[in-house]
């Protein structure tokens, strides 16, 4: 009996002692983890001091002493820890022994009479518990799934999380069968309902906001053709009164480039000295879906090149092929992103030596991205792969600088790349860059872009002439010089060629002969280009006045003032027109 007391006391003492010791050791272990010797803040600061100011004997002395001290401390501590551990183990042994001896006689002797509980009861209990546990686990599991999918819904686009939700609802469906438990049933039920809810309204959304059939994939429409197959475009709207205005949203960074539309997305770029960015807006809501920065590009200049005020760093319109969208800036940076705003590739194609600033727009033909890169030094045309940006072909020439944009024209049944430069308009085979024909006819500063209709290529530039070239042969059909555009580009039907000048005259040449069919003196400068849509010609003046002419007769149908400066050319898609003004982007739709 006395022995037992003894054992008990020993046990208690050791236990208490162990507790204390382990706490102490825990603390010192923690300290050791925290500090590594010589890395104490004091040391560091002292050392830096020593490095900054010139030789200071007693400072160095001080450092050395401190260093020695901290190192001693560290290793002492380490030693203590070791001994402590051994001590603990020893005591643990003692403790166990004592406890064993203490409990020696009071082993778990059975209280006589048999286990009263019926084992079958136990089993059924166990079954119930297990059932519950499994159920709870399942509930938690579903909890994960649901919360996850909700998180995804917040993150990802509605389309893909919709399936996920469906999948989830399937699972919860499973679980209803499996766990015959009300709780699960409830949870599953409301996940189901939420899921369906979602499915319903997302689909609803889909219905009233479908993908658009008609795209406008480059500057002035597909292939930069200055025409669109869109129908039912409003012929009057009012930004103040929101008449026929679907939405209007501000543009983060300035730029003179024009909007481009594909699917549900509108692409424009903007730039300033800080950043150059590609924006994607939703065509239905006008919300900014994503932004891709052109940064961290090898060879990109650290400082912005000097550019003219009314050219800017983002004068070039982007181009898309429905899968990728590419943009170029006055720094020579080309970036390409996919429809979800993932930057696929980016490269700098050399700083353009350009006294106004690089302004030619991009063009995409299938997987080929075409860049008219004609600057003061080495003028060239580049064809890059839209997928990874590797060069497919390139064509250097002795041409002078130009700000014009390439187009794709159908010449002799085949689609050809037509580039208007200085001094020549030339057609190339877009697949390998081989030259089809070349007509030297331009001079001055070529800023406007060519147009093409019925196999004829039309080009015009101020201080040069307006020329029509047979696309098949490359021979000149006619020349004229009545009215010539500066920035604005030509638009053409197979009968008429429309031209808007920067001094307020607009006219229509006869596509066959070149004689001026009709002219209007509108006394307001035009930089934006005319576009032929649904038998009408839409034209914006710099001040923001809209002129709508008949495409067959070039009679002025209507004109009104939108009140916002407009330099970009609008983009058309079925029933809608997207216009970029100098500070905002708006969408016109009949309502």
């Amino acid at each position: 009996m006395k022995m037992r007391k003894l054992y008990r006391n020993i046990a208690i003492v050791t236990a208490v002692f162990m507790l204390v010791l382990s706490v102490m050791m825990g603390v010192s272990y923690y300290q050791m983890q925290q500090v590594s010797p010589l890395e104490t803040g004091v040391m560091e600061t002292l050392k830096e001091l020593n490095e900054t100011n010139d030789d200071n004997e007693q400072l160095q002395q001080q450092i050395r002493e401190l260093d020695l001290l901290s190192r001693k401390a560290y290793f002492v501590q380490e030693g203590q820890l070791k001994t402590g551990i051994y001590l603990l183990i020893g005591m643990a042994l003692i403790l166990m022994l004592c406890l064993n001896l203490y409990f020696k006689d009071t082993k778990s002797l059975p209280d006589k009479q048999l286990d009263p509980i019926d084992e079958w009861m136990m089993k059924s209990h166990a079954r119930k518990y297990l059932g519950w546990a499994a159920a709870i686990a399942a509930v938690v599991g579903i909890g994960f799934v649901v919360s996850r999918s909700i998180a995804d819904k917040l993150l990802t686009a509605p389309s893909d999380n919709q399936d996920e939700l469906l999948a989830d609802s399937h699972q919860s469906g499973e679980n209803i069968e499996t766990d015959s438990l009300q709780v699960v049933a409830d949870i599953a039920a409301d996940t189901l309902s939420t899921a369906q809810q979602d499915v319903v309204d997302t689909t609803a959304v889909e219905d009233e906001m479908p993908e658009l059939k008609i795209a406008s994939k480059a500057f002035r429409g597909n292939n930069s053709s200055a025409s669109s197959s869109a129908r039912g475009i409003a012929t009057s709207w009012n930004l103040k009164g929101k008449k026929n205005i679907l939405w209007q949203s501000p543009i983060p960074k300035h730029g003179y480039n024009s909007p481009v539309i594909t699917g549900r997305s509108i692409f424009i770029t903007g730039a300033d000295a800080q950043a150059r960015e590609l924006y994607c807006f939703d065509v239905w809501t006008g919300e900014l879906k994503w932004t891709v920065k052109a940064d961290g590009i090898a060879g990109s200049p650290s400082a912005m090149p000097k550019v003219n005020e009314d050219t800017g760093l983002a004068a070039s319109t982007v181009a898309t092929n429905g899968e990728q969208v590419a943009a170029i800036f006055a720094t020579g940076d080309v970036i390409c992103a996919d429809m979800d705003g993932q930057r696929l590739w980016a490269k700098n194609i050399g700083l353009p030596d350009n006294h106004y600033g690089y302004a030619s727009s991009l063009l995409m033909l299938g997987n080929t991205l075409i860049i008219q890169y004609q600057n003061n030094s080495n003028a060239q045309i580049l064809a890059l792969s839209a997928k990874d940006g590797h060069q497919i072909w390139s064509k250097s020439s002795k041409d002078k600088i130009a700000w014009s944009s390439p187009i794709i024209a159908t010449l002799g049944g085949k689609s050809a790349l037509v580039v208007m430069g200085n001094p020549a308009i030339a057609a190339y085979n877009p697949s390998n860059g081989s030259e089809l024909w070349r007509v030297e006819c331009m001079s001055g500063e070529v800023g406007s872009s060519p147009a093409s209709a019925g196999g004829v290529v039309f080009g015009a530039s101020e201080y040069a002439k307006c020329i029509a070239i047979d696309g098949a042969t490359g021979e000149t059909l006619w020349e004229a010089s009545d009215y010539l555009p500066e920035c604005s580009s030509l638009a053409a039907t197979k009968d008429l060629v429309f031209c808007a000048t920067s001094y307020g005259m607009v006219c229509a040449y006869d596509a066959k002969t070149g004689e001026v069919k009709k002219e209007h003196d509108l006394t307001t400068p035009f930089y934006s280009s005319p576009v032929v849509v649904d038998g009408k010609v839409y034209l914006f003046s710099n001040s923001g006045k809209v002129y709508i002419f008949s495409a067959s007769t070039f009679d002025l149908i209507t004109s009104f003032d939108t009140g916002e400066k407009t330099f970009a050319t609008p983009a058309f898609t079925d029933g809608m027109m997207v216009v970029r003004t100098d500070k905002s982007l708006y969408c016109v739709k009949k309502n």
């Binding site: 996850r148 400082a303 700083l351 030094s377 080495n378």
Partner: protein, 315 residues
């Protein structure tokens, strides 16, 4: 305790990475704190990339000569390729002297014309030599030899004239043993000793300067300076490895200024090759060539701005 277990279980499903990985970053492993207050007087105006690692660069008459493994290419200032021709792979250094390209290999020297046809070549004077760098002037070719630890002087047609020894003895721990010819004198680095030594073209030792340390006007780490090159009005530019930087010294060793620091150059540990073309600094490292231009605004804050030399690099 329950809460801990609960949290871990939650993580187990939601963010296993949180459970299994930590993003702790061990301290004190950044060797040199970038002094952000350093301003480089030069601004990168443009640059271009080449398809391969650059082993040597030379600038001559408006074109940039780049030696990449098994190629020598000539580029225009804006990075358009003018010509290129193949060479043996283990090229160490290259220089251009009146239209001829002198390519240096560990135990061989080859001379090409601009079209890339081999006009001359000769083997090193000793078979165990291990050439590093060369300088060419009208009265000879000076080649630094890392294994024999001397400078060999050849005539322009490749006959050995003499060996140049350092009075202190060269110490060359790694293959950066730069040499440059600047108005009638040969300047070479004694990398192990962190010195720059000058010799007459006849090989007499003139003087030496330089001290060890990471501060401005000193050479840090192992084997610096790595590259020497004359500035456009006869100052001496040095390029260092370790913490790469480019500094400017007077010919008598007076330190003028750091022109480009690691940050401006683009980091790394390898030395950047540097050349001067009238008022531009051309810097090559990795597969990049960058052109730097003096920036008046920034330079006000730097030594280079205060320098009273009328240095063409500054106009």
């Amino acid at each position: 305790m329950l809460s801990v277990v609960g949290r871990d279980l939650w993580n187990m499903f939601k963010r296993p990475d949180k459970l299994f990985y930590h993003s702790r970053r061990p301290q004190g492993l950044t060797l040199l704190k970038e002094d952000d207050d350093f301003v480089s007087p030069y601004r990168r105006v443009y640059g271009f990339m080449v398809p391969d690692e650059i082993c040597a660069m030379e600038v001559d008459g408006g074109s940039i000569y780049l030696a990449t493994p098994n190629n020598i290419s000539v580029y225009g200032m804006s990075g358009e390729l003018q010509t290129n021709f193949p060479t043996p792979s283990d090229l160490r250094d290259m220089t251009v002297h009146d239209g001829l390209i002198y390519a240096l290999f560990p135990t061989r020297i080859e001379v090409y014309n601009r079209q890339g046809d081999l006009t001359m070549e000769w083997e090193a004077c000793s078979e165990n030599s291990d050439y590093c760098s060369l300088a060419v002037c009208e009265n000879g070719i000076f080649v630094t030899d890392a294994s024999n630890k001397n400078i060999c002087k050849y005539t322009l047609d490749g006959t050995l004239v003499r060996f140049i020894q350092s009075p202190k003895g060269f110490i060359v721990p790694s293959y950066c043993f730069g040499v440059a010819y600047i108005d009638g004198k040969i300047y070479c680095s004694n990398p192990g000793r962190h010195l720059i030594e000058s010799y007459t073209t006849e090989g007499e030792f003139i003087a030496s300067f330089g001290k060890a340390g990471a501060g401005a006007g000193a050479f840090s780490g192992c084997c610096n300076p790595a590259v020497l090159t004359p500035s456009s009005h006869g100052d001496l530019l040095t390029s260092e490895k370790g913490i790469p930087r480019i500094s400017c010294y007077g010919l008598n060793g007076e330190f003028r200024s750091i022109l480009l620091d690691s940050k401006a150059l683009g980091g790394g540990n390898a030395a950047y090759d540097v050349r001067v073309m009238n008022d531009k600094l051309i810097v090559a490292g990795g597969d990049k060539v960058s052109v730097f231009q003096y920036d008046k605004r920034q330079s006000q804050l730097t030594l280079c701005g205060q320098c009273e030399e009328d240095c063409p690099l500054r106009v």
